[in-house]
């Protein structure tokens, strides 16, 4: 049983025009087995929240706390956060030329568990997980994300989630760029990982369609760097019907 606790998180980035505050007090608690959906318009700060939790150096935490089972996540280095059980499926996964998927997965698994996986079972696990995600076995020998299509990159992210078995997974727009079949396959992957490990999931999305496959327990509407409204899955249906308009203030009011 794990708990990721985010309290009053404020985050800035340095831009050419100076420092810009993007997260303006985010408070959120995610427990094992729960699925939280964060929905919000473009530019509202969803990815910033995800990256800040993962420790991307571009973002500066100016106040607030993030803890995983009481441990201070913000004091950990990026790799330590992953080893503590956090996982981020990125909106734009990075290409790493010259590093094969199989080498990368084995290295990551070894790092996360602290020992090299048993070769025979590991090869079988990878094969099976790739098969479930309808990934051609040749991907194992390709370079990480290099030349992958948008959908292939997303499958590869979920493949990692299934193999690395995090306590809490943050999925940043894993649904974007997927066609209907791929969306179903990827959603099944997330549900499988949840079932086998009981992970908590923070699902960041712009659209409601993925929520047909992955049922959220909680929905948070994210606007302008903070949570504007919270509810159950019925809130997603309402957003589907009404859009974000009623949350958006006009520039004059802002």
């Amino acid at each position: 049983m794990s708990t990721l606790e985010i309290k009053d998180l404020h985050v800035t980035v340095d831009t050419d025009q100076g420092t810009k505050e993007i997260l303006r007090g985010v408070t959120l608690t995610i427990e094992s087995g729960q699925t939280h959906a964060i929905m919000g318009p473009n530019g509202s700060g969803k990815s910033t929240l995800a990256y800040s939790i993962a420790g991307h150096p571009k973002y500066t935490i100016t106040s607030g706390t993030v803890t995983l089972d009481g441990e201070d996540v913000l004091a950990m280095k990026v790799d330590e956060r992953a080893r503590a059980g956090l996982f981020l499926a990125m909106q734009y996964p990075v290409e790493v030329p010259g590093v094969t998927v199989s080498n990368f997965l084995r290295t990551a698994k070894t790092a996360v568990t602290g020992e090299a996986p048993k070769l025979r079972t590991w090869v079988k696990d990878v094969k099976e997980a790739m098969g479930n995600l309808r990934m051609d076995p040749v991907f194992a020998e390709r370079n990480v994300n290099e030349g992958f299509s948008g959908g292939e990159k997303k499958r590869h992210e979920i493949l990692q989630m299934e193999l690395l078995q995090p306590k809490i997974a943050i999925l940043d727009e894993t649904d974007s760029g997927l066609d209907v079949d791929a969306l179903r396959v990827v959603s099944e992957g997330v549900n499988r990982a949840k079932e086998t490990t009981g992970a908590g999931v923070l699902l960041i999305t712009h659209y409601t369609r993925i929520l047909r496959y992955i049922k959220p327990d909680f929905v948070h509407v994210f606007v302008d760097g903070r949570i504007a409204e919270e509810g159950g899955s019925e809130l997603a249906d309402r957003l589907e019907a009404e859009g974000y308009d009623r949350f958006l203030t006009t520039p004059a009011e802002a």
């Binding site: 992953a82 996964p93 010259g98 590093v99 990368f104």
Partner: protein
């Protein structure tokens, strides 16, 4: 005649390097001669010397013999001979002539040519290995000829180490239909200086590979020139270099396509780490009017690991005939990609290991092409060592 020098923007972050430049003369017009007086002592402003710290290399330009030698040891597979030949006899073979002051002085004062002969119709199962190490007191003029007979297959590995000032003239004659790989490994002590001209003459339907691995030396400058004696020849030029603080590692290639239906492919990759680490790569390709059906490609990539390092990359393609199969080049110099590092670390991989993965990945394509397992393994280990030295 057209001078083609497309400017290819680098992918990703870019610390520049001298922009691709159009030379004021064709590469074909560069002086080549056996006569020392044809080459004045360089001042450093000449096109072929403009990147090189000539002020540290005065000894290399002095027109006098020193009589000094490097220490040699060699493994010669059965059938391979090592003999010496008077310089005049070497000239009479019609070999390519020296192309700069250091090379002409080396050829003039070497006192004789060390000749490695692989007879015709011979397939070596083991490489010829020649280990050369330092003779710190005096400048050494080295002169080598590697002759591989027709339809033979041979790999020759030259390994350089220790402290030396070494001026080298090397000719590789790849006989018709032969398959030749020459590997030159520079793992000199940082006090060493090494200037070299390597000429690779590719016979009809022969396949020649020249592989430069440069990991150590205060100044190393390797000029590799390729020419073809008949159609159907193929040349691969591969290079890996890793420059640390204070090192100047320079590789210049010139592929002269005169015979028709020949191929050339050049791939050099380098990493730089540490203040004042410096690398230069110049890739000249000339496709003469007679060289119809030529297919050529050259690529140079540099990875800058720390601030204060500088890589220059100058590809230059001159094409005098439209009847070619293909001609292209790419050159890019980028900083270490922090997004790659973040991605790997976000999967739990510690920073030093993630860095190693990225750098190893950067070199992987060219190392895989070397095809000499012992060289590949040695190289990967050496790169690991360079990286851990850099982190410490």
């Amino acid at each position: 005649m057209s001078l083609l020098t497309p400017q290819r923007p680098a992918d990703g972050a870019h610390t520049d390097s001298a922009a691709t430049m159009v030379p004021d003369q064709s590469r074909a017009e560069r002086t080549s001669s056996f006569d020392v007086s044809a080459f004045p002592v360089p001042a450093g402003r000449e096109e072929e010397w403009r990147f090189t710290p000539v002020d540290r290399l005065g000894r290399f330009f002095r027109d006098e013999a020193t009589g000094a030698c490097l220490d040699w040891s060699q493994d010669l597979p059965a059938g391979v001979t090592l003999t010496t030949m008077p310089v005049q006899e070497w000239r009479d073979l019609g070999v390519p002539q020296p192309q700069d002051r250091a090379a002409v002085v080396a050829a003039e004062h070497s006192g004789g040519v060390a000749v490695v002969d692989v007879p015709a119709d011979t397939e070596l199962s083991e490489p010829v290995r020649i280990r050369l190490s330092g003779a710190p007191e005096q400048l050494v003029h080295g002169h080598l000829l590697v002759r591989v007979g027709r339809f033979s297959r041979a790999t020759v590995v030259l390994e350089h180490s220790g402290v030396a000032d070494y001026s080298e003239m090397l000719t590789v004659l790849a006989g018709d239909g032969s398959d030749v790989t020459l590997v030159s490994v520079q793992e000199w002590d940082d006090r060493s200086h090494h200037l070299a001209q390597h000429d690779v003459v590719v016979g009809r339907d022969a396949s020649a590979r020249h592989i430069a691995v440069t990991l150590g030396g205060g100044v190393v400058r390797l000029n590799t020139n390729t020419s073809y004696t008949g159609p159907g020849g193929s040349f691969e030029g591969l290079g890996v270099y890793f420059a640390d603080a204070g090192q100047h590692l320079e590789h210049r290639l010139f592929v002269d396509h005169e015979a028709p239906h020949c191929r050339s492919n050049v791939e050099y990759k380098g990493a730089l780490q540490g203040d004042t680490a410096r690398t230069v790569w110049v890739g000249d390709v000339l496709i003469r009017a007679s060289a119809e059906g030529t297919d050529t490609y050259e690529l140079n990539r540099n990875l800058i690991l720390t601030d204060g390092a500088r890589a220059d990359s100058v590809p230059n393609l001159e094409i005098e005939t439209g009847e070619i199969e293909g001609a292209g080049h790419a050159s890019a110099t980028g900083r270490f990609d922090d997004e790659q590092l973040f991605y790997l670390m976000a999967r739990g991989i510690p920073e030093d290991e993630a860095r190693r993965l990225v750098v190893r990945g950067f070199f992987a394509s060219v190392v895989a092409r070397i095809g000499v397992p012992e060289v590949q393994e040695h190289l990967m280990e050496a790169i690991e060592r360079e990286l851990s030295a850099g982190v410490a």
